[in-house]
Symmetry: C2
Subunit: 515 residues, 2 copies
Amino acid sequence: MSLSPDLFIAGTRRAGRGDPVHAVAPATGERIGPAFGGATAEDVADACAAAAAAFRPYRAAGLERRAAFLEAIAEEIEALGDTLIERAVLETALPPARILGERGRTVGQLRLFARVVRQGDWQEVRIDPALPDRQPAPRPDIRMGRIGLGPVAVFGASNFPLAFSVAGGDTASALAAGCPVVVKAHPGHPGTSALVAEAVDRAVARCAMPAGVFSMVAGANHAVGAALVTDERICAVGFTGSRAGGLALMALAAARPRPIPVYAEMSSINPVLVFPHALASRAEAVANAYIASLTLGGGQFCTNPGLLLLPEGPGAETFLRAVESALAAQPAATLLSPAIHAAHQAGQAALAATPGVDCIGTGAEARGPCEARPTAFVVDAARFDAIPHLSDEIFGPTGLVVRCPDAAAMAGIMERIEGQLTIALHIDAADEEAAATLLPVLEEKAGRLLVNGFGTGVEVCDAMVHGGPFPATSDGRSTSVGSYAIERFLRPVCYQDMPPALLPEMLRDRTPQQA
Amino acid sequence: MSLSPDLFIAGTRRAGRGDPVHAVAPATGERIGPAFGGATAEDVADACAAAAAAFRPYRAAGLERRAAFLEAIAEEIEALGDTLIERAVLETALPPARILGERGRTVGQLRLFARVVRQGDWQEVRIDPALPDRQPAPRPDIRMGRIGLGPVAVFGASNFPLAFSVAGGDTASALAAGCPVVVKAHPGHPGTSALVAEAVDRAVARCAMPAGVFSMVAGANHAVGAALVTDERICAVGFTGSRAGGLALMALAAARPRPIPVYAEMSSINPVLVFPHALASRAEAVANAYIASLTLGGGQFCTNPGLLLLPEGPGAETFLRAVESALAAQPAATLLSPAIHAAHQAGQAALAATPGVDCIGTGAEARGPCEARPTAFVVDAARFDAIPHLSDEIFGPTGLVVRCPDAAAMAGIMERIEGQLTIALHIDAADEEAAATLLPVLEEKAGRLLVNGFGTGVEVCDAMVHGGPFPATSDGRSTSVGSYAIERFLRPVCYQDMPPALLPEMLRDRTPQQA
């Protein structure tokens, strides 16, 4: 399997003449080849023009061919075999087992959306038949269905080189909705991106899809992404990344002559609330599970438990001692890139230097160039409330425990906290009443509420919500994981008194056998 | 029935100390009493604080009480009787029959949403049951449901003093979704607004709803609306009005520390496409129906047919002559307000002064202070393409006919046109093939496509889409009319491994009898 250093523009390869992207192996800190050509403004415009040209033929290809295309992408990704796994491991330092699992999730996602496309519920078909005899005026025949918004720009994420990247959730849901996709490859894993882009290209050819249905551009600077988001043919944006990056894309999209929706998943500290009875009965087990979640994948999940609220009382000291022990057994984590590593180290150092913030414990010392030392800190609730930056996300294996003198302190923090992806409750049966009191505020603060678990580990299913109020995402009305993600890229169209021959297939009358 | 000149803040009346609002009777151009007090920033903040405080208890009241509340609002509006009709006629110069019809639509809308609330489909309940034996890891129990976004700001529209105003579609759908509402009354009909606000207040009291679930503020300047949209407790905005107004609210909402969705319905010229066979067979009938639609309600519908594309060939001259005759029989129209009248006169004059734009015909001369003369103009396709301002909306009874030399010219115009609320096709059976060729572009340009009708007259039903791509609206993913409008104000929340006692009612397991 060759590794193309070129741009993927509507089924053709083109040498990028913009600033090149160099992959870095986080484990060694060294550059690895090849150099991937960066896109110029012209390359971006060509990709967008091809996407716009592909929109109608792609829609017209019909649902069965669209579903088969999604399945073909999954097959072609699997056909990349170990080449893909090895390259992704090299570029991200994530372990092979994790990348294998992520590949399974990625192809599973594509196949889930193939099923969703075939099932067709997302078209939201509604039919109000004519009422010719209605008084004072007859009612016409009115039918609604939903179609895709148009070409979608997808930004690959650093921390899921497959499942939130070139052929990840946003691409799968946009293609399922009937929208061509132009991907901006994440510079952290350009080779992985190129391999997956090749797989998608092969699926496009195999399924005889219009070439512009997929393009991928790369670039080492922000200009490429900005050109993509501001191209007049782009109709929506999917992004997973930093808060600064998401806010920048939101501002660009809102300032366009024709503003477009941005679905940016940005930052979350995913509060974990431990309740008194659960703490008294199983402090050690909760602590061990907490540290396992905090350090999973180097702590580089959007759902990483950055904040834990601990009630004073029986079990609190046991919990803190167990956190210390569990951390002591943790190896240092090689983070995804030098930039992410630098940001993590700065965040961790700032936390350590904050008066009133104490270290609970640490894992093994960092040695390699991108290594981070898993660390948990503790602070009291009054100080946490007084220092706004303590609720900023630190992306990586660093956690903060807040000691809450009573339930009111815990509730107060949750009333004031920003929007989150997840909130986890650790409760025993005797805590349920107290938890019930808090639920209304928690529902307003997060897209996903969990009991006796942690947010790391996001099921790809129909009921999943991986989203949440700002600033967890730019748009709390949607999810980036699970079948409900198709909602992002749809709009309703209504047809009034349309002759049967002109109605879209989805809105035609069915014989009883078809219904 | 007394007419309160006060602000309605969470069930209490408060004299407004900001710039007052004076109603004007468009028929005479004279001020009518009383002076309605304008809101200060503090009044707006109080209304928003009360709305935020009401959000949880209003949600907790449950669906049956919420539905009954919507029905109570409808009853209280009906109980206003002729007082409401007379005041609305006085403030808008719309005829009593129209206002009566609009009241029917308004209460019908509230009752429709009561049914929608009870039915509960909008909660989008999804349940992925636990799979404890799944390999390599068990699946937790995952359930999704949707809840309201939070307090919603609703801006009353000038042209529907009941159906798109204080208790109009946005208010009904927001309340149905579980969101408290703060209305900014439209200054064009302050008395009508006060009467309806009184009715809503009575329904709030009768149904023992939390007082903050409804407030109404007024004001003669933009500061009141800006304070409302930028209040940190407001979670979404509904607006129907001008493009300038909508864009201003979008910019304010995007610049907030926590950006929020804005649903602004702004401007549309609602292209009407006449096809050759239809023109040859029934030019006169189409022309008469066109002029009836163009002048309906003084041409002051969002769906007014501002643009008509006419093919050259048999019937074209007949059509233009019939337009001239139909117009000649039209009386002058009293527009809604001096400001709307002034804007219409300026737009009509600019059109008349554009080289290459000819007058087809006019209605009766304008005499009264807010009267406008119904007028249709004609221009050729090449000139239409060359002069961008010819596709600007002129709100009122002014239409532009574009002569298209062939189908390609018509298609070209539709490819380049901005987003629209509606597009109407006039076709005979022999035109269907040509219409089918155009449909893919039309679907991208409008929220509603009609055959052999006009967009004026919007059914309130399940399949209606009164929306469309920018700049027809700020957000083409939704509708402001019909039951689908509830989608605007909802967000999904996911519950993982939640004990039954903590699950929201909508997500609990049902016995077979309940299902």
